[in-house]
């Protein structure tokens, strides 16, 4: 199983860009990189997914270097409502590795 390592917590301020990096040294060829967001008392919510290079949607960008051993979730101009736990996952088409969550990064945004 490809395991992920990410910072336990991060702090930032409203209006800043926040980058959360995740390491996944043992990622397999067929694995995708997915990020979820979880607010207190809610289930995780899908943010973005990518395989290589860069992916951007209305919420975030995901940067993946050529070796795919790490990835960076970029949140532009964060607001207080972005305070949440962010999980980096590596997903492969096999029952053993589907949607395995790591410890996540607790992001706190201050005014």
């Amino acid at each position: 199983l490809a395991k992920t390592t990410q910072p336990i917590s991060m702090d930032s301020y409203e209006g800043q860009e926040v980058n959360i990096t995740c390491s996944h040294n043992n990622i397999a060829t067929n694995d995708y990189i997915t990020w979820y967001q979880q607010f207190p008392s809610q289930g995780p919510r899908f943010i973005i997914q990518g395989y290589k290079t860069k992916v951007t949607n209305e919420v975030a960008s995901l940067f993946i270097p050529a070796d795919r051993k790490s990835s960076t979730l970029s949140l532009p101009r964060v607001s207080l409502s972005d305070t949440a736990v962010y999980y980096c996952l590596v997903e492969g088409y096999s029952s053993a590795s589907k949607i395995i969550f790591g410890s996540g990064t607790r992001l706190s945004i201050r005014p």
Binding site: S41, F46, Y51, K98, F101, S103
Partner: protein, 114 residues
Amino acid sequence: DTAVSQTPKYLVTQMGNDKSIKCEQNLGHDTMYWYKQDSKKFLKIMFSYNNKELIINETVPNRFSPKSPDKAHLNLHINSLELGDSAVYFCASSQSLEADTEAFFGQGTRLTVV
């Protein structure tokens, strides 16, 4: 019009009791999951079902038994509840087991065993 709904949202019960948590998804997905999130906030997969068939059973005590009457439902039955079973249980679904599919989670069921 909730995509993945769980009932009940809160469940307080005594040790030794048997309880069930229900989950329904209206997304037409083939795959459903149960996760447990403990007090330290670690999310651990417990079970996954694909087209009503058990795919993953992650070292979960036999007291936990999932039941999938149809593709839209995956219920979790727990026998002889223990204090350590207290946690938030999340149901989720995805279109398939393909790696590039998005999972949708329910709001969770907070189980407290006293």
